[in-house]
Point group: C2
Chain length 340, copies 2
């Protein structure tokens, strides 16, 4: 590879991203900046949060500047370095871009990773990365479920949701998952050990609320929310008193120009529930701790994290859109290079 | 008074309550039940929460049964007693009904009150009652603002909101109030010492959000929410990072058959904010503590709680509707009898 291929944000999407919102260009491979280094990206994480970063709106992170590559967490190898902390050949995880080579610096979200712990570097983008650890810290540190409590997970067949359900089972919860379609629901039971799987597709809020009620007559003590919108409205009608809602994602509305929100907020008041807006970034200093626990559970066969590996930077757009079509099963990653 | 006049819920209102939803009847004065007592109600509290109790919907309290008097907190005098804890002539506060005489028992929300502390028994329905103490505990115990933080209060000219703002100032916050109309906004500044008053009337969510942003460029650290709907959506666009939202009331939608909710929930996620569904009931055991603090502030001239006293049980309906027309200024109470 003698050039740097880059998948740029060319304009801000309106609703569903279309191919014209992006540009695929070739540039020279960057040189290491003073004190920094250049990463050869091997795997990139494709996440719903990226859609939010494409909007020009106040958020926890600045919007992706137009003309910049689409921001992505990647794992890769240091290609050139002027940093005393990172040597050529080191494996690193960091917030980079959908491109062959990214400029990075020590600090922030950037860290070295021990590739010997895993069967594929992509694991640092799934089980041992932001996705698995979003599930881990969101459940163990924010919701803090007690054994015997009922945990309700939306987007349950997704990368975060399936990990949340499995951790909930390890913690002794009764776990109910909501997913779209019979195939995904079957996977919740067969692959991830959920107690109950509920298919939201084709159901009104009232119908979905009634199905949840049948599965959890005393309500949910913990809701791990990845979806928002009508799914969340149905969940809100089934809160146990003082329920804790971990608001982790709102994938139902990321492509919606008009934000949807929730109608049944009044139930949060009536049930004295709490909604915790939750981002993984505060837990970056504890990634080693969480990753070790996830690795132990995987080694014990108690934790299964599926990956949906798409291939080639040139396929960045169709790969990314799999997040919104429901096509992906497991954590979606884009393989950019072998790196070995 | 030789009969018990009662203001009954005759059918469940659809949207705004109409006179036909209620019935005004006369019955015999009840006798003290075994172990219980009968209260001669002197003042009754009229609150937005009563509208919620009229609906047949899951909530923190069972719906008011059809044919029962409209549930209300009252303060009154024990008229007859079979209780070892309550003697005839004792002043009591409790969850009773809009009627001359109510049957009650020791326990729960029922407590004796020291009428010597106040200039009118109605104070136990305002500053020293659920309203003043909703403000007190919601701010001091749930939101826990730090000196120098920005506090944003909706429904700021209302009974709870005006107390919240004053307590916020005592705690060293910069206090911004949102209210409807120039007169109410002027009262926020002149009577309650708010730093900024914003009139929401006739403004879009975007316009209101921009006005809040001008007053709080770094966002609100604490939001005390009494209104919901579009007012709350505008507030949500102005959250400081890790803002705490005390969800105390949703008066904008209590008469709405379709719940409104919020559209800008995504900002709770983006700013890592927390929404606390908050009801005063958990704090009943601490009412004496909170009441003493409120009484001290009132005696020092640092706390002003206005009352809007309406007269006569026969006026229960028009008095109640003042809550929703914006006509009331200060805590709305209905005087039923002198009691002296």
């Amino acid at each position: 590879m003698s050039v740097n291929r880059r998948f740029l944000l060319a304009r801000r999407p309106h609703g569903d991203p279309v191919p014209e919102d992006f540009a695929f260009v070739e540039q020279a491979i960057p040189v290491a900046p003073s004190g920094g280094f250049v990463v050869r990206n091997c795997y990139a994480s494709l996440d719903p949060a990226q859609r939010g970063w494409m909007d020009d709106a106040p958020s926890y992170m600045p919007p992706i500047p137009l003309g910049d590559p689409v921001r992505a967490t990647t794992v890769g190898i240091v290609h050139a370095s002027d940093s005393p902390d990172y040597a050529v050949g080191d494996w690193v995880m960091g917030l980079n871009g959908l491109e062959d080579y990214s400029v990075n610096h020590a600090g922030g979200f950037t860290m070295k990773v021990d590739i010997g712990l895993v069967d594929s570097p992509s694991k640092f983008l799934s089980a041992m990365g932001a996705v698995g650890l979003t599930a881990y810290f969101g459940l163990t540190d924010v919701a803090k479920p007690q054994p015997g409590e009922t945990l309700l997970v939306s987007g349950a067949a997704g990368a975060v949701g399936s990990a949340v359900g499995q951790i909930g089972k390890i913690m002794g919860c009764r776990v109910i998952g909501i997913a779209g379609g019979a195939t995904k629901c079957q996977r919740l039971i067969d692959d991830y050990g959920f107690d109950v799987a509920i298919d939201y597709k084709g159901k009104s809020v009232e119908q979905l609320a009634a199905e949840i009620r049948a599965a959890a007559p005393n309500g949910a003590d913990v809701v791990f929310e990845n979806v928002g919108g009508e799914v969340m409205d149905a969940e809100l009608m089934n809160l146990a008193k003082k329920a804790r809602i971990v608001l982790c994602g709102l994938i139902s509305e990321y492509n919606s120009p008009q934000k949807i929100g929730i109608r049944n907020l009044w139930q949060v008041l009536a049930q004295q529930a709490t909604i915790h807006g939750y981002l993984i970034m505060d837990y970056v200093p504890r990634f080693a701790e969480g990753g070790a626990q996830m690795a132990e559970w995987m080694a014990q066969g108690r934790m299964r994290i599926d990956e949906d590996v798409q291939h080639g930077l040139e396929n960045a757009y169709p790969a990314f859109m799999r997040l919104f079509s429901g096509a992906n099963t497991g954590k979606l990653v884009l393989k950019i290079a072998d790196g070995l």
